[in-house]
């Protein structure tokens, strides 16, 4: 292991005149590694993204890059070189690391030689003026990161604004969420609030709050979604609590004919998002 790291470091120092970090215990590397922990992400307001697709999408969407992590022997795409130069020009800290060090930070199979520490974006609920966008989604709690990631990916695909989180723990910047969004995360807006604040905000803002429940009588496909729409989704197992159902202007159900009494949360949310989207683009509403 030590030999291979040393060999890689030598190769790089022949081509570029920079200090290459070859130690996984280096201060910067340890700091990035700790971003796997939710409380560290929360305290610092940062998260780590991997791969050229994610890094370039983040930059294109104006996400603030705090540190760029680069392993030149792994960079294949010429666009990556341009991206690094651009970031160096605007003063972004660029860490050059050995492939072994980059892999030590990685949760994916192929980090493609590049990663970045980027700043989380949150907006206070008071700043949210619902209006032109297709809709917002409000979540009480999302248990599985893959579900939240898929929901964000669908929301971006239909022109949804983003997600209002009504709990303290659901973390859209969890690496598993970020990965499942396939980059859509950078085009979504995030609000963290609580049920009481959300209830007050709703009283002050004209909108159609739509909840889902298997017990609702109204069919999701026969409901007309007036703009601005907010889709309110419960957690995977328990669904929407009674106090949140009481807040809704309409409760809808997604019909089922099998033995099952529920769908996967990401599927149910996506069916509603596409229903709103289809109505809008077919000019039903």
């Amino acid at each position: 292991m030590t030999t291979s790291i040393r060999k890689e470091a030598t190769t790089i120092s022949n081509t570029v005149d920079r200090q290459v970090i070859n130690n996984v215990n280096h201060y910067h590397i340890r700091r990035i590694h700790r971003l796997r922990l939710q409380d560290v992400r929360e305290r610092t307001g940062l998260y780590y993204i991997e791969g050229l697709r994610f890094v370039s999408q983040a930059i294109a969407r104006g996400v603030s890059i705090e540190t760029l992590v680069v392993s030149r022997p792994l960079l294949k795409h010429p666009y990556a070189q341009r991206l690094i130069h651009q970031q160096q020009r605007i003063g972004t800290l660029v860490l050059e690391v050995t492939p072994a060090v980059l892999h030590s930070l990685s949760l994916v199979d192929d980090p493609q030689g590049i990663g970045a520490v980027v700043r989380q974006r949150w907006e206070p609920l008071q700043h949210i003026k619902v209006g032109e966008e297709l809709c917002w989604i409000a979540h009480q709690f999302v248990r599985l990161p893959g579900n939240l990631g898929s929901i964000l990916r669908t929301s971006e695909a239909v022109g949804g604004a983003g997600v209002i989180l009504l709990d303290d723990t659901t973390d859209p910047y969890d690496p598993a969420v970020v990965r499942a969004t396939m980059g859509a995360i950078f085009a979504q807006r995030f609000v963290r609030t609580n049920v009481a604040e959300f209830a007050r905000w709703k009283q002050q803002h004209e909108c159609m709050l739509v909840g889902t429940s298997p017990q609702a009588t109204q069919d999701y496909h026969s409901t007309v979604y007036r703009r601005p729409t907010i889709l309110l989704m419960g957690e995977e197992r328990k669904g929407l609590t009674a106090d949140l159902q009481a807040l809704c202007d309409t409760m809808v159900r997604i019909p089922m004919v099998g033995q099952s009494d529920s769908l996967n949360l990401a599927i149910a949310t996506s069916l509603l998002l596409y229903e709103v989207f289809n109505q809008r683009r077919m000019q039903v509403i």
Copy 2:
């Protein structure tokens, strides 16, 4: 560890007069443990399910129970006792094990004191007569078990018949797939075939084969799905291969307005399933 196992075993022997397996290396336990491996599942035609919900749904759907695994100290629901008695009466092998042994077999947090080795169900393509059911789904390859599980769950919810797999490796009986179906797996039918055989079968059977591609011009929501419908889905990253697209009667796309060029596979499949289901129940078709 040894002490706690011994203690559990003693407690049980006071209440029931049966041999309780307290050794994770017991022949039967090793045999069940090996069902985590795909090649063992394939060779034996068996798989392992956990929890009262899954075991009772399997029985209700006529799935053949090969072995029932029970840890009485963990059984809470009175229905579980009745289920075990019924299985003993019809001659099913019932293994009584300690909680530690049951947990050693488990991939879930709370196996609820019960698990079962059950027989996989497969049908040859030649036996499939498409007709009364809502539709079938044909998959070229599914990379993520969670995706296949969610697809089966949605398919069951809308009255879909099941899945035709066109590759050798996608395994619907993978524990992660089974878990994500929430029990819907027992109500779905499975066929394994290959592209050539599928192409021949299609020539002999009247059906509408619908493929998806971001390049298709036809909108999935404006397409009329004639019965019997087969939805053909490509794999997560590459989509449908050209030879499979050529087989399709219609290619549809799911419109998107964001930067993304694709949706999660389970989401895309579920949107199509619900589109067919909504047209059918709204008597469009």
